[in-house]
Assembly symmetry: C2
Homo-oligomer: 338 residues x 2
């Protein structure tokens, strides 16, 4: 590890009502530069935690390595926590067909589409969601194709001992600069391994994504570049209409951003006054409503212009069901710079 | 204040994944007995916070005082955060008509029904939710009737200077054993004043509800008794199918329980080895998923038998979308007994 600054005062997002604090979220942040050096932190940058879907750019690397000619939208959907709109499903179906797989091969499980309009459409048509609607179906379709292209069995592709999942764990360790033993293995919402590693490790992963060529030789650098290119070219595929990743990437040049469940967040920032940076943060209680507030505060702290359009993602003033102003959201991020 | 034990170690609900902690909620608890004495606490019992809808049994008191013959189901719906099912709406409509009011008089705003089946039904019929579907519509209908019966104007019934809202603030101070100046005023999600007071004050309010006759003279005691009776006789009206208040009250004899937004909780327990008790707790970050875990741990700590049916409300084992076991929920409540 280089440039560790240890644990310190955590950040906070405080929701107030009538001037009185009502609820409070604690936040841990790590920032790493293109030279893999930790340049800033808040709270405990060594916190071992689960990036969940923020791992998807890494989980898509075996696919990006094995299929260098894959269309960008299909690589993007493999990195996505998509909203289950018809546009998302069409790209998933195309990627799934490439490995000769069908919806029956997907092991992600089923939940209603995240997109409210898409969910309401299903209800209106009297239809049940399928595994295609699961936000991870693109990742699973990409994993199936990675297996076929690498000559690995499709069977058991979600299980820990499968060569694909072992490769993904190795990639987290290598790109994150942590030992394999420090990458713990749980099970994710979609049944693939969920990996846990120190927060600074995930910041390092996103720093690699921000600057692949500066720190990597061999085929990994162009594969990371393809992942970065696919994500930034297709922000709507990565999340969906009105969702944080999509809006941030649409508005901030040179940003690949990926949310994970339980309020994890990763950002690969290519254009900051300090050069390319990787950012990872975790809201300690998993409170996802605090995420846009922390993301914008971090952009601001790192010298990325925060426009009014961006600011609208994390409004300071909070409103109730009747549209009345009821409180504020305050962000405190006491960053320690290395 | 009697029996204050000050701030101490907070409780925690920890969600783990693959044996590694993933997210953590901090919890503050206060317990008060029928003699208004604080008998136990965890974290900061002096925390000034918003009970939100856990205030509803107090907000319904002016109605219970003015309409002693009101049917129990209508008093219950005035104490409810209901789920917007047809059963809920029928009782709200009946209560609303009693004051000659209509849906246009309700100032609560509009949101889709909390009950997923009721929400899906609206979508299928192509209808929009109305203020009747708002979880607070019964409270608002009750407030309108309280105004009419007291000779107060219906106009402005949600505003701070209205005599109804002043009376409700006084009741919080009196029943909670705190000064009026210590009852802060914000605005709630449904536009009535949201009051903030120390956690031990709300525990005292719920202790009053558990044992009205033991500590109050005058008409307040029978009015509190009617509120307790209405809540416990109609658990399905207080919340809705499968929801925490409803299930707890259906399974625990002598319990009136009321949730508030941002993970506040109040319980009036009539039958414990220590006699009647009032409990109030707040999950610091507003994380509502931690609430059933804390509620059950408190029942257990206070000597109320927790059956397997109750335990199912807050399962220790957590599952993913595919039904696989992925982690646990651990509760630590280091109660300090007075």
């Amino acid at each position: 590890m280089t440039g560790q600054t240890g644990a310190g005062q955590a950040g906070q997002v405080i929701f107030t009502r009538g001037g009185v604090p009502e609820s409070l979220h604690r936040v841990h942040v790590a920032v790493v530069d293109a030279g893999r050096r930790q340049v800033a932190a808040c709270g405990d940058a060594d916190l071992v935690t689960f990036p969940r879907s923020s791992s998807k750019p890494v989980q898509a690397l075996p696919l990006a390595l094995a299929a260098p000619e894959l269309p960008g939208d299909e690589l993007a959907i493999a990195c996505a926590s998509h909203a289950g709109t018809p546009e998302h499903l069409a790209v998933v179906a195309r990627l799934l067909a490439r490995s000769g797989s069908t919806v029956e091969d997907l092991r992600c499980g089923t939940h209603p589409p995240f997109d409210p309009a898409a969910a309401a459409d299903l209800i209106r048509r009297g239809e049940q969601p399928t595994p295609l609607h699961h936000n991870c179906s693109g990742k699973h379709a990409g994993m199936l194709l990675a297996c076929v292209l690498n000559g690995w069995p499709r069977e058991g592709y979600t299980e820990q001992p499968h060569p694909l999942q072992l490769r993904i764990r190795e990639l987290h360790a290598d790109l994150g600069g942590v030992a394999m033993d420090d990458v713990h293995v749980g099970t994710d919402g979609c049944s693939v391994p969920a990996l846990a590693l120190p927060l600074h490790g995930m910041a390092r992963v996103f720093a690699r994504l921000a600057a692949p060529a500066e720190s990597l030789a061999g085929p990994l650098a162009p594969a990371l570049e393809r992942v970065f290119g696919a994500m930034t070219a297709h922000p709507l595929l990565i999340a969906g209409p009105g969702r944080l990743d999509t809006t941030l990437m649409s508005l901030v040049p040179g940003l690949a951003a990926k949310m994970g469940a339980e309020a994890f967040y990763g950002m690969a920032l290519r254009e900051t006054p300090r050069g390319p940076l990787g950012v990872a943060f975790k809201v300690q209680d998993g409170g996802e409503r605090a995420r846009p507030h922390v993301a914008l505060a971090m952009l601001e702290a790192l010298g990325v212009p925060v426009t009014a359009e961006l600011r609208a993602l994390a409004p300071n003033v909070q409103y109730n069901w009747a549209g009345r102003e009821v409180g504020t959201a305050e962000v405190e991020l006491p960053l320690r710079w290395a």
